[in-house]
Amino acid sequence: MLQLLLIAFRNLGTHRRRTLLLGGAIAGVTALLVVLMGLSTGMKDTMLRSATTLATGHVNVGGFYKVTAGQSAPVVTGYPKVIEQVRKDVPELDYIVQRGRGWVKVVSEVGSSQVGLGGIDVEAEPGIRKVLQIKEGSLDGLKERDTVLLFEKQAKRLEVKVGDTVTLSAPTLRGTNNTVDVRVAAIAANVGLMSDFNIFVPNSTLRSLYQLKDDTTGAIYLYLKDVAQVPAVQARLRQTLAAAGHELMDNDPRAFWMKFEVVNREGWTGQKLDITNWEDEISFINWTLTALNGLTGVLIFVLLVIICVGIMNTLWIAIRERTREIGTLRAIGMQRTRVLAMFVFEALTLGFLGTLAGAVIGLAVCLGINAADISVPEVVAVFIMSEKLNLAVNAGSVVGAMLFITACTTAISLIPSFLAARMKPVTAMHHIG
């Protein structure tokens, strides 16, 4: 076998120009795949980190309370008992928080805008400090009642700064409008789409605005030690909460605010819980990832086809050039399987070395882009929830990409190699050309 590898390796070296051209193409596709996967993973990481802190947990227990069939509020009543149940059922839990949720009009002296409202207990939220970059004021300012955290974009639009007062106006459960004046305690750096339609106030302020009881909240956010456990935890909670007597909504993988219409059409009243995960809550922007992954898939597929045709063509040429050699080796006692292996090794060696070089180049490009701290256009930042381009390289994906491309090139080489192995020694030995 070593001798066959040696022959493969030396034949590649003998036809240096051909090898470099094809190896370069393989390296290029691998590098492109590594960079695109880095971009996709980076986006996903950023979205996961930002979204799961600002707008959702890894798993959420939310729900709707309906006083009448056509009037719903996105709240969980009696949440301390639900939290107690969740803590018991989910050993994978890292920490758990409860947040009020609502939709308000923010009014300043010069303008107004409609935004999503998050009610937080800032002392119970370890994650939010890691994600929010406070530009003005202090996050601890939200410990005080009737304060608000705005993002730079909103502060600019409303023309307010820390210490100014804005008015929040929202309809209560009873259908009447209520208002509360809040002081701007902190202004945070923009984090993509979240900055456009999210503000944060202390939970106590949100409760007073919506006139909610102390044991009512918007949703319970579960943060897990390992995100991979999300589907298992979600499935388990559906069973255990139902078993504990809670009414559950059918699974609907969308953000809570997209469900009002459906919920209001249904005839039930009272409380129903809704269990979602982080992907459901940001599904409305997740299409960017799907689109990027789709584009990556199509691009890589097309390039792979080109490479595979190149590999096949190269092997055809090599086999044609070495037909007499094949005949000789068969004559001196080499079995067909070994002839097959000899050419497959050649494609395997080329594929492996090409993908290895490509992975190194791809990694270097990713590291270079991260080191360059490149700012992305605002329209891109909206979707990736970051103002900087971040490429996250995962060792497993890089190895996976290498193995996948090497496997493709090796698999396609089986066709010409098989035909080479099938040659009759006498025909091959007397081949002219």
Partner: protein
């Protein structure tokens, strides 16, 4: 001991070989019978197109007869599978080709070692010893690390001889082994083959046009139009060639 007293290593009985060239059938061999015994140094002579190479291909198990029986080392080649034929070639037969047919990307040592690697009988040290012993015999021990393209034609053919003999085959087939060499180098190659035939007892069958080369053979099978004309001694063959006969 007289080689003819032993069981034949090659036995060919009423063998024909036809080639289909489209709608035309070209007969290359027309009812050939011959026997070769262990230790013989046989030449197959005849003009171009007489069927020498076809006959060697059949004996070498790289091609199959249309009709008749080809038996090598006691085995009817028609009854063997492709794998068994390959094993028969690997363990019983050595080949020397007109245009050397060495693997260009391997060194001299690696070329000679290659059949031993296919056989998987010897360990690394034993292989090394055997290869170096043969390279010394063919006078190329100092060229073990050279690639074939760094050698002259005569040296390449000596490598091919070493490769053919490295597995200690019972039979070595050489198709016009001196055709691509000058007469002096060709003479050296034949001398070398003869020496190995006498020292190791290996049976050699080689085809040639060259009367001087034929002169070394124990016997010369003369072939014309796909048929064996006769079996002559070397001197008889020389005389026949001198008067312009086949």
């Amino acid at each position: 001991m007289n080689p003819a007293a032993k069981a034949p290593i090659v036995s060919i009985t009423n063998v024909t070989k036809d080639y289909n060239l489209g709608k035309v059938v070209v007969p290359a061999l027309r009812g050939v019978d011959l026997q070769v015994h262990p230790g013989e140094f046989i030449s197959i002579a005849g003009p171009s197109g007489s069927g020498k190479t076809t006959l060697l291909n059949l004996i070498g198990c790289v091609d199959t007869a249309t009709t008749g029986v080809v038996s090598v080392a006691g085995q009817d080649t028609k009854q063997l599978s492709e794998r068994q034929l390959t094993n028969l070639r690997l363990h019983t037969i050595g080949f020397i080709f007109q245009s050397f047919n060495l693997v260009s990307v391997l060194t001299v040592f690696q070329n000679v070692e290659f059949p031993l690697l296919l056989q998987r009988k010897l360990d690394k040290a034993q292989r090394r010893e055997r290869v170096m012993q043969l390279l010394e015999q063919v006078g190329l021990a100092g060229h073990a690390k050279h690639r074939p393209n760094e050698l002259s034609g005569g040296q390449r053919q000596r490598v091919a001889v070493a490769r053919a003999l490295v597995t200690r085959p019972q039979l070595v087939l050489a198709d016009e082994p001196t055709a691509n060499l000058d007469s002096v180098t060709g003479q050296h190659i034949i001398d070398l083959m003869k020496e190995l035939n006498q020292k190791e007892g290996t049976t050699f069958i080689f085809s040639t046009h060259d009367a001087k080369v034929m002169n070394h053979a124990n016997a010369v099978w003369r072939l014309a139009d796909g048929k064996i004309l006769d079996r002559l001694s070397a001197s008889e063959a020389q005389r026949a060639m001198a008067v312009g006969g086949h």
